[in-house]
């Protein structure tokens, strides 16, 4: 068991990870009070992803003071961290050991926390190749509706005992319980990385990606902006160099991936374009959807960003026909839409409600954040 502070005693305190502060007891007390009085709680980490979901009108419970890395053993490829720890702080500690969160989570603000990252379940450009947030969650400590702190999963790579409550927390947006601590699988950063620009149309790019996808190529990022395929190669020095030589293209700025992940490319700017921004999650080989608007394709086709004035129902219908779904990503809450996420089918809705009723019977955790009444 090592702690980063122990390994780098001389390091400037400002670059150290978040203060080691265990606020579990205070959080448990707040939950017990809320349960006793039936008060709903709006769970907030760094507040960077508050826009990603329906507004929750209730008392705020901040997790921002519940910080610190509980356990990090690079050789075990496992880190356990408190929910309020800033994502950037965790990533800095991992980087010191040459490791990373391979799912490349978006921050959407410097105060983004680990808990919010897991609760929102968002992954970055590497997702189709490396896996998503939930693929890297090994365990959680969660605070339940009755004010208990329980442990599911663990700090080992493989653990199939009991139901997988840890991965269920990913993307549940805090509606089933409070994420108190998370254990992640971490991986070495790639030895080599290169970013290429290949000028080609979307059709050509999709055809090439389909072909490359059946080969063992070191691709970990593929986005098309309408004119150019941006391709990231990561792996061993030899394979990256060989693949780059084989594909040609122009070397590109590696900051592209950060800007894409953080929705900071010009395409996403509201100054340039105030049409609503939709995230379409589709089978990667789905043909372009016949929807008016501009599209930026990420995840080799599996995630497509659409700027369009079309009604939500139209966009969702096209996405569903293509085998996927559409989410309104309204960072400034400019569009006042009440249902950012695709509605559930009747049967799925029933089981969501039954699960919510079992894990949060009084409805105190982020009520309505995902769907009305959930």
């Amino acid at each position: 068991m090592t702690h980063p502070q122990d390994q780098h005693p001389s390091q400037d305190a400002r670059t150290l990870p978040a203060r080691d502060h265990n606020a579990s007891e205070a959080l448990l007390e707040r939950v017990r009070q809320a349960a006793a009085t039936g008060t709903a709680l709006r769970l907030v980490g760094g507040g960077s992803k508050g826009f990603y979901g329906r507004p929750v009108v209730s008392e705020t419970l901040s997790l921002a003071e519940h910080t610190g890395i509980v356990n990090y053993d690079p050789v075990e490829l496992v880190v356990t961290v408190r929910a309020g720890t800033r994502l950037a702080d965790l990533q800095a500690v991992l980087a010191q050991e040459g490791q990373q969160l391979a799912f490349e989570p978006p921050h959407f603000g410097e105060n983004a926390t680990v808990g919010g990252t897991v609760a929102c379940g968002l992954s970055g450009p590497r997702r189709p190749w490396a896996g998503s947030v939930r693929d890297f969650v090994l365990g959680t400590r969660m605070i339940t509706h009755d004010g208990k702190r329980l442990h599911f999963g663990g700090e080992v790579m493989k653990n199939v005992a009991g139901y997988d409550l840890s991965r269920l927390m990913v993307g549940a947006q805090g509606t089933l319980g409070i994420i108190d601590e998370v254990s992640f699988k971490v991986l070495p950063r790639p030895a080599a990385s290169a970013t290429l620009r290949l000028e080609m149309g979307l059709g050509d790019a999709m055809a090439r990606l389909a072909e490359w996808g059946r080969k063992p190529m070191p691709i970990t990022g593929a986005a098309h902006d309408g004119e150019t395929l941006h391709l990231r190669l990561e792996g061993g020095a030899s394979s990256v160099a060989n693949t780059q030589a084989q594909l040609g293209g122009e070397p590109d700025d590696t900051a592209f991936w950060t800007q894409l992940r953080e929705l900071e490319l010009a395409f996403f700017s509201r100054r340039h374009d105030d049409r609503p921004l939709w995230r379409l999650s589709l089978p990667h080989r789905a043909p372009p959807l016949a929807l008016d608007g501009d599209t930026l394709v990420d995840w080799a086709g599996a995630q497509r960003w659409l700027r369009s004035e079309l009604p939500a129902a139209t966009i969702r219908q096209h996405a569903a026909q293509a085998g996927g779904h559409a989410t309104l990503v309204d960072r400034d809450r400019a569009h006042g839409v009440d249902a950012p996420f695709t509605p559930l089918s009747v049967v799925m809705d029933k089981y969501h409600r039954q699960l919510k009723a079992k894990l949060d019977p009084k409805g105190i955790f982020n009520p309505g954040r995902l769907y009305e009444g959930l």
Binding site: T144, K158, S281, V347, L370
Partner: protein, 499 residues
């Protein structure tokens, strides 16, 4: 035998009039194969955990989804428990039948519905064998990554139900990381699809929740898995060590060098000798431990990584390092490991395979603990270990015909799992809890945690009809058998001889 279903501890099962149920099912499902005579039921009395046998009340072998739906509808209406079974190769008794339940056998759903090389997916019925998917994908240069050692026989529905693993999990993940979507029939007969070919779905991640839920939340009727391109190159290094601890440390050193091997396996002296006697893999029988390290990927990287790993192994004190010269020798190196279980089986009338996981740094302590248990209980234990991901498979050798030896083996196994929990690990890495580890669940989880599991179960199966008694113990069972695990108090069978 305290793991068999005991209504006093595990909950009362509804009393069902078998003859009336047979008459009803035959009338409503005349075309479905329904077995009810003892001689027909006998082949289904156990799964891969053959030490435990229970004759099911009835066995249903449907051919169509409509039959499964109608069967569930009738069982739901009449309050009849349903245990779902695939190929029956599971090692934890997850498909152990109930005397008062119907065994729903999905083995006839064995069609590969679609291999889509463009999408890199396979859509299959639950009874399709694991290896059959990779074989069907092979002409496209693709394969399905999880490879449990029973992959020739085990079916994909069971793999999803148990969240099966294999020797390549550290790099390629478990079943949960390789399944895109499953179709489910609920106990109420509703069809739902969890997951999708798109990489995420709205709402809760129920696909993750259902994976590994041991048939207790729904019945899997169709599965879409992700296919991966076959690695361009794969090489295997075999390193010998004169000390198990040095081998364990070498595993950490390889990871610390920034390398994630495709497979990283360790075997101890007894396992090496058993495997060598059985398959003549060329293993060094004088070594205390060997490591098999497979590096796969793009050819140029594999070559570089082999050099790095060789240097790391030398520095870690390996007494001999051999790189498989060609694919034939690579297959031979692996044959010893993949046949380790049957090889150990030749050394002893019976063996009991454990499945604990630990943080790798705890390996020396756990191996010493296992050696001590072996010595004090007089049962030999061979160790094979998915070293890369900390998943141990100690094989406890015993003779079921010798009075008390099965109980003794169970006891050693239970203590090994408790040791895994004590050092921060888990009682099961890839075989599942099933019925086998039902008592050890009480060591890994507190009563409050177990209560949450029951709440999840009740959200999907309020009557508790799907595979009752598996995976999650009742608090009554924990009170009876769990206390000793937690507190290391009295042993379960004080009357048994110990030597």
């Amino acid at each position: 035998m305290n793991i068999l279903f005991d209504e006093r501890l595990d909950g009362t099962l509804p009393a069902v009039d078998k003859d009336a149920l047979v008459t009803h099912l035959t009338a409503h499902l005349p075309d479905m194969t329904l077995l009810h005579r003892e001689e027909d039921l006998r082949p289904f009395e156990c799964d891969g955990l053959s030490a435990y046998r229970v004759l099911p009340m009835l066995v249903a072998l449907p051919d169509t989804l409509e039959q499964v739906e109608a069967l569930l509808g009738i069982c739901h209406a009449q309050g009849v428990p349903v245990v779902t079974r695939g190929a029956g190769t599971g090692l934890s008794g997850g498909a152990l039948p109930l005397e008062k339940g119907v065994l729903l056998v999905m083995s006839r759903f064995s069609r590969i519905l679609d291999i889509d090389p463009e999408a890199r997916t396979a859509r299959v019925q639950p009874g399709v064998r694991n290896l059959a998917i990779s074989e069907a994908a092979a002409p496209h240069g693709l394969y399905y990554a999880p490879d449990p050692s029973s992959q020739i026989a085990c079916s994909i529905g069971g793999n999803v139900a148990e969240n099966a693993g294999g020797v390549h999990c550290l790099k390629y993940g478990l079943t949960v990381h390789n399944v895109l979507a499953v179709n489910i029939l609920t106990i109420e007969g509703e069809h739902i699809t969890l997951g999708s070919e798109a990489l995420d779905t709205p709402g809760f991640d129920l696909l993750a929740l259902f994976t590994g839920s041991e048939g207790m939340l729904g019945v899997i009727t169709e599965i879409t898995v992700k296919l991966l391109p076959k690695p361009e190159s794969a090489k295997v290094l075999m390193a010998s060590f004169d000390d198990v601890e040095k081998a364990g440390k070498a595993v950490g050193d390889i990871i610390a060098a920034g390398i994630i091997p495709g497979g990283l396996e360790m075997m101890d002296r007894l396992a090496i000798q058993a495997a060598e006697n059985f398959v003549k893999a060329g293993y060094p029988v004088e070594a205390e431990a060997i490591l098999l390290c497979e590096l796969d990927g793009v050819e140029a990287d594999v070559h570089d990584d082999c050099e790095t790993v060789r240097r790391v192994l030398e520095a870690a004190g390996a007494t001999d390092i051999r790189l498989a010269r060609d694919d034939a020798e690579r297959a031979t190196f692996w044959a010893g490991r993949k046949n380790a279980f049957p090889a150990v089986g030749r050394m002893s009338p019976d063996y009991y395979c454990m499945d604990g996981t630990i943080p790798r740094r705890e390996l020396p302590r756990v191996l010493k603990g296992i050696a001590d248990l072996s010595a004090t209980h007089g049962l030999r234990v061979a160790n094979v270990f998915h070293a890369g991901d900390g998943n141990m498979h100690p094989l406890i050798l015993f003779d079921a015909n010798a009075p008390g030896e099965l109980a003794l083996a169970e006891e050693v196994g239970g203590k090994i799992l408790e040791l895994c929990v004590e050092v921060g690990g888990s009682i099961t890495g890839e075989h599942g809890v099933g019925r086998e580890k039902i008592n050890q669940m009480c060591a890994q989880f507190s009563p409050d945690e177990i209560t949450v599991f029951h709440a999840v179960k009740a959200a999907f199966d309020p009557l508790g009809l799907l595979n009752p008694g598996k995976n999650i113990p009742t608090l009554a069972r924990c009170a009876e058998f769990g206390a000793m695990h937690v507190h290391h108090g009295n042993l379960p069978h004080p009357e048994l001889p110990r030597f």
